[in-house]
Symmetry: C2
């Protein structure tokens, strides 16, 4: 019994190490060019062990996506929005989405978006609709409260808003530094990230605000 | 004389054909994995001829970027904005930027953004600051007119706005279809592009509009 628990714990540690290495390798080189040899080397495991746990490179990629999706859920979907004014709650939501894109798999998602162009790997979507449903519900609650308080306009649907926030956060992480550089803004990667986040947030809040009714004096 | 003109025309046609093939190959496979062999095959030229005109793969990539940049300039920077109301002029500007990202090198830019992560190829920026300067000046003129007309808020600087529009248009093209699919919107590529463009434009116009002064009745 004791030994079995120990073995389970060892397995969990090994699996986590392989997943970390796989995310690193796929982030840098994508699904097609990413190498299982390198993932084995980075995680300090044999290639055989990687295949024992994950069967194939595609299986491992799927597992990395599931892992990222779990982190999305844990970081983004929380109860603490309820205690904040709606505008602050939306800001926090957007800023957490920036965090996720920055730290967790922004590059994997980018690679995925490119891979998906040819629709060959529909398997990757398996567990995501559920997660998206939860995220929409969480955002919907914030927006509803904001509309009741008269803060938010109601001419953007919640799922459209979520798509826009994702394009903005994902695009800021992927192109932000490049675009900032093109504009001759001489910034380090950290500064560029900070700048893009502030600008993106300002833009989202400005787009969402309700136009006050004008009264001709 | 006659013969020389003919030779010049032939050269121009060959160069254009090589550039088209190079854009196609680099868009699909990126700078590192893109193959000069394949570019020669696609353009119907010998590899020797490709190297005679462009010296190296890096030189050819640079030439593709310059070509894209010329198309940006021709399509985006025009005088016809002046005859439109500022909101319509901004809409047209954004819609032309969507066109460019869709048709001309969206993928090359994406590849470039990824390559640039390690700052190894600063050569690619060579001719772009000039172009960016012209684009900013063109947008600035539209925004200034809109501010004078009371249409646009003045709490977003023109260069910040240009960065935001680029993140939005570029991100919509790159991630739009993927994100729409994640959200279980069942769309063809064309529908998704259309949807993202309408949504992005609505968002940009909403963010830019001026808040009317409220008067307590």
């Amino acid at each position: 019994m004791y030994e079995t628990d120990g073995m389970k714990r060892d397995s969990a540690v090994t699996i986590a190490r392989i997943l970390d290495a796989a995310e690193q390798e796929f982030s840098a080189h994508g699904l097609l060019a990413g190498r299982v040899d390198e993932i084995a080397r980075l995680s300090g495991c044999s290639k055989q062990l990687v295949y024992r746990y994950f069967e194939s490179k595609h299986g491992l990629y799927q597992a990395v996506l599931d892992d990222i999706s779990r982190r999305h859920e844990a970081h983004l979907i929380r109860q603490d929005y309820d205690s904040l004014p709606p505008i602050d709650a939306l800001s926090l939501f957007v800023s957490r989405l920036f965090d996720i894109q920055k730290r967790n798999g922004g590059h994997v998602i980018l690679d995925l978006a490119q891979q998906q162009e040819n629709d060959e790997h529909p398997i990757y979507y398996k567990q995501w609709p559920q997660l998206v449903g939860k995220i929409v519900a969480c955002l919907e609650k914030i927006i509803e409260r904001g509309r009741e308080a008269g803060d938010f306009s109601d001419d953007i649907e919640t799922d459209d808003l979520l798509i826009l926030i994702n394009v903005m956060t994902n695009g800021s992480i992927s192109f932000g530094r490049f675009i900032a550089k093109m504009m001759s803004k001489d910034m380090t990667q950290d500064q560029a990230g900070h700048y893009m986040e502030e600008l993106g947030l300002l833009f989202i809040l400005k787009a969402m605000r309700k136009m006050p009714v004008t009264v001709d004096a």
